[in-house]
């Protein structure tokens, strides 16, 4: 009897010892898993980028090929198109994991679900928001966006799209259990995207006018900080509803 007890005691210690760093390990493992999965479906990674380029192509055709007019609407147009591209890619954020059951494993994991879902959002941003931000200047050239605003365009999109991914993931988590949740997802999330859009476009327009962009970027950073703090908990709560319901 006493032998069993002494045997059990170190086992507890061994379990507790790695628990100190297990949060970070779990975060990294989830992130790596998602990045690997995304890299295996490279075609899907390209889709948001192609969509972005396509939407941007529609506008010169739909409005006017006149460079002066295009330059006027370019900042807003690029931001709206990137926002829609990011939104479209969100539907698949939890979908495959939901279908094959690995989302339930995340729920059962001892680490907080909020942190694990944050890892998934980071992976999503790395392969959607960041490429969109890097691609935007190229489309900016095609829309005759005046020089001097390209770096700010990329930077504002990079910061902004991180907030978009975080806020959008709440909607994706809420609708993952619904069979055709795609349109509903846009309905839920687009109103919440408006502040990010306002400050993102504001930054580019301020850069075009030669004004200071720090205020706009600071606001984008504030939105990101707030959503980084709050969104993971909402995502986790939404995932629990979608799985258990």
């Amino acid at each position: 009897m006493s032998l069993q007890r002494t045997k059990a005691a170190p086992a507890v210690v061994i379990v507790e010892a790695p628990a100190q760093g297990s949060l970070w390990i779990a975060f990294k493992a989830t992130l790596e898993r998602d990045l690997t999965l995304m890299l295996r479906r490279r075609g899907e990674l390209l889709n948001p980028l192609v969509f972005f380029a396509l939407v941007v192509t529609l506008f010169p055709i739909g409005i006017s090929p006149d460079p002066d007019m295009l330059a006027l609407i370019a900042p807003g147009l690029l931001w709206v198109a990137a926002l829609l591209a990011a939104l479209l890619s969100l539907d698949s954020l939890f979908r495959t994991d939901y279908d094959d059951g690995s989302l339930e494993q995340l729920l059962l994991a001892p680490q907080p679900l909020a942190i694990l879902s944050l890892a998934k959002v980071v992976a999503h941003w790395l392969f959607t928001g960041l490429p969109l931000a890097l691609m935007a200047p190229l489309l900016g050239i095609m829309l005759a966006l005046p020089a001097g605003s390209y770096a700010i365009l990329s930077l504002s999109l990079a910061i902004g799209s991180a907030s978009l991914s975080l806020i959008g993931a709440i909607g994706a988590a809420l609708t993952v259990g619904i069979a055709r949740g795609g349109v509903l997802l846009s309905l839920l999330i687009l109103p919440l995207y408006i502040p990010v859009l306002i400050f993102g476009v504001g930054a580019v327009q301020a850069a075009l006018l030669g004004e200071g962009v720090a205020a706009h970027l600071a606001m984008l950073g504030a939105l990101l900080a707030a959503s980084l703090l709050l969104a993971p908990w909402a995502i986790a709560a939404s995932l629990r509803i979608s799985i258990n319901g």
């Binding site: 809420l174 259990g177 309905l187 839920l188 109103p191 909402a234 709560a237």
Partner: protein, 246 residues
């Protein structure tokens, strides 16, 4: 104190108590709205700039106030439901959402009608109208999400999360839209601000606002009661109630 609050969580208690409260709220709200309407439309002096068209304020402003308050109360009810699992709170949130959407629409529609004499156009991307439009989308999102779930419980909890996310975002949206509008302001129109309004103009407005709030409480009580009956239809006390009624 706590037992008193806890009692309200019971559908049966809520049903009987709200049945007693309801007529009072209806009477007060109809009285206030009748007085406010008559006073505002017939007796309040016409605005020196806008003439009689300003009288639409007596519908527009109360509806806009109410629309925002309904979203906040809906989110508060959602929070109560999520934290304490009180079903009454969810029923109240369920019935508040359509009323809030309607009030937002009334505010938007009256704003558009008001726009014709003041701005010369049905729609302006004015900061307040734009925020109201976004509020309408938020309401529609909550309603759509609730109905998208086949299980009522999941729908309730999902809608509650969305309502809470929305209420955190409402001030952010409102201030960012205000900020956006000041950058793009056409700088020609200015609606008379409230402090410069004479007493005989804002007193009926205050009465109308109070009347609208009482109307909201009365209607919420009434619709929560029918929601209770719908959800608890196979409970014994509801069956007994139905037998008595027949």
């Amino acid at each position: 104190m706590w037992t008193f609050i806890h009692k309200w969580g019971s559908p049966k208690w809520f049903y009987s108590m709200s049945g007693k409260l309801q007529p009072w709220f209806w009477t007060v709200s109809l009285l206030l709205i009748a007085v406010g309407t008559l006073w505002g439309l017939a007796f309040a002096p016409a605005d020196y700039q806008q003439g009689n068209s300003f009288r639409i304020i007596y519908v527009h402003v109360p509806a806009a106030f109410l629309a925002q308050s309904i979203f906040v109360s809906m989110a508060a009810a959602a929070l109560v439901f999520m934290v304490w699992k009180i079903k009454i709170a969810d029923m109240a949130a369920t019935v508040m959402a359509p009323l809030g959407a309607v009030m937002t629409f009334v505010a938007l529609f009256s704003g558009a009608v008001w726009g014709v004499p003041t701005w010369g156009t049905w729609w302006m991307w004015d900061a307040r109208l734009t925020s109201m439009l976004i509020l309408l989308f938020l309401f529609l999102g909550v309603i759509a999400l609730r109905s998208a779930f086949t299980s009522r419980d999941s729908g309730s909890r999902a809608a509650s999360v969305l309502a809470m996310v929305g209420v955190i975002n409402i001030p952010i949206i409102k201030y960012s839209v205000d900020w956006w509008f000041t950058l793009h302001q056409p700088a020609t129109f200015r609606v008379t601000s409230s402090p410069s309004m004479p007493t005989e103009m804002w007193l009926p407005l205050l009465i109308m606002v109070l009347g609208f709030y009482c109307f909201f409480i009365a209607l919420t009580l009434m619709r929560t009661r029918s929601e209770i009956l719908r959800r608890e239809a196979n409970k014994r006390w509801v069956m007994d109630l139905m037998k008595e009624a027949h």
